[in-house]
Symmetry: C2
Subunit: 249 residues, 2 copies
């Protein structure tokens, strides 16, 4: 019954985070956007807010990835903001990975201080795609490698892979967190895309998929709540605050 897992591995998978694909780098909307940011079209992140028209072209060309799920770096940013500055991470019980739609894996150093500003975050990720790590020299705060969901699993060797999706088994989030805390090195998959379900490939590698609400929840809500429930499940939340002792501990 006691919790055995002290480290939660959390991966945003199939995240809508990628550079502008070659196929639309010459599109006027992309060229103008890149010029304004003083970068080459090949160096900027795809962003639906700014590249909607160009992305329609991509859809027409039947691009190899699901275009309606692409170009949302904000999902990764908002989710990371919600889980990195938490007691769970401060106490080294959290390891965070971002797997992307075109099979890159970003390993996030728990010590990172993520830019709170979205524009800065986008700049940092562009740097990461250019240099494979940030900062360019010294101990990396983020590292980028080629890798599939299966590679990530092989690397972490989790006791089980758990996932969250509206297509899953109805389960209270707190129960899922408690269960996860009783697995050795649990690995949690949360979709880093706007709507819909995991790909078949990803689904097949998940042991249990949970649905924690009637409606689809944003990735950052699921991640934030799960990290919080996991803190409780392993006692971090309670240990850090002692209500009876005037705060001296």
């Amino acid at each position: 019954m006691a919790s055995i897992s002290l480290t939660l591995n959390l991966a945003l998978v199939e995240s809508a985070l990628q550079l502008v694909p070659t196929e639309i780098q010459a599109h006027p909307q992309i060229k103008k956007y890149a010029a304004r940011r003083m970068k080459r079209p090949s160096e900027v992140l795809l962003d639906r807010t700014f590249h909607h028209t160009a992305m329609q072209k991509l859809a027409q060309k039947r691009f190899r990835l699901p275009v309606e799920k692409m170009g949302r770096p904000d999902i990764v940013h908002t989710t990371l903001l919600q889980i990195l500055e938490t007691p769970l991470n401060w106490e080294k019980h959290l390891r965070v990975f971002v797997h992307t739609q075109d099979d890159y894996v970003i390993s996030v150093n728990p010590k990172i201080r993520l830019p709170k500003n979205y524009v800065r975050f986008v700049g940092l990720i562009e740097q990461l795609f250019a240099n494979k790590q940030v900062p360019e020299r010294g101990s990396p705060l983020m590292k980028l490698e080629k890798g599939t969901v299966q590679n990530l699993i092989a690397r972490i060797q989790p006791g089980q892979v758990l996932g969250f999706s509206i297509m899953g088994q109805p389960t209270l989030m707190r129960t899922a967190a408690k269960d996860a805390s009783e697995i050795a090195d649990p690995l949690i998959f949360i979709g880093g895309f706007p709507r819909g379900h995991f790909s078949d490939d990803t689904s097949r590698s998940i042991h249990s998929i949970f649905k924690v609400d009637r409606e689809s929840l944003d990735a950052w809500v699921v991640a934030g709540r799960f990290v919080y429930d996991f803190e409780w499940a392993i006692g971090v939340a309670q240990r850090r605050i002692k209500p009876e002792k005037d705060g001296h501990d």
Copy 2:
């Protein structure tokens, strides 16, 4: 013991959200920024990421507001993202307000679909400051009025005002949420600024101030967790998912 409050009033107070002050509208950094966005310097939101140099001038001039706590619209954005698309809000148990450092109060319609993209959010808030409501015509999704923290309290008439701050009484967040659910129309204050404590004026209007972790937590982490704990306290989380029934309810 049963919960009596079905509606949580949550206010981000003294939020670092304001238009560029008159005193620095002629600063080259501001003029260039506004021109690039095809707006007047008086129409753009102050943003530390882009206006750092100009803000240093403001600090030297001993501006009437705490400059180190200004120019962070991202705090309001990230926090709203974390609490608006939640079961608590979907079930109409949440009312959200944003009070700003220079005493404006934004009332947020629970039906709003907030822009997920930061750049879009900034544009929307600039529109709100220009027109006092968005959209300009019809039922407002956000409304802006002059108002102090005291005005907000007079309007909501809460049973109690509770606040979160590192200077508060050590309390488990879950306990605070349970307590809040037993108050008629509780009003929660969370600081919408980067660091530090509420102003003396604000502190005086709060009945109980809670410290829920050893370290200072970001506004969006506190707000997200409290909304979640409040959902549990009033039974929303549990009611929406029935683990035993294969999800048919």
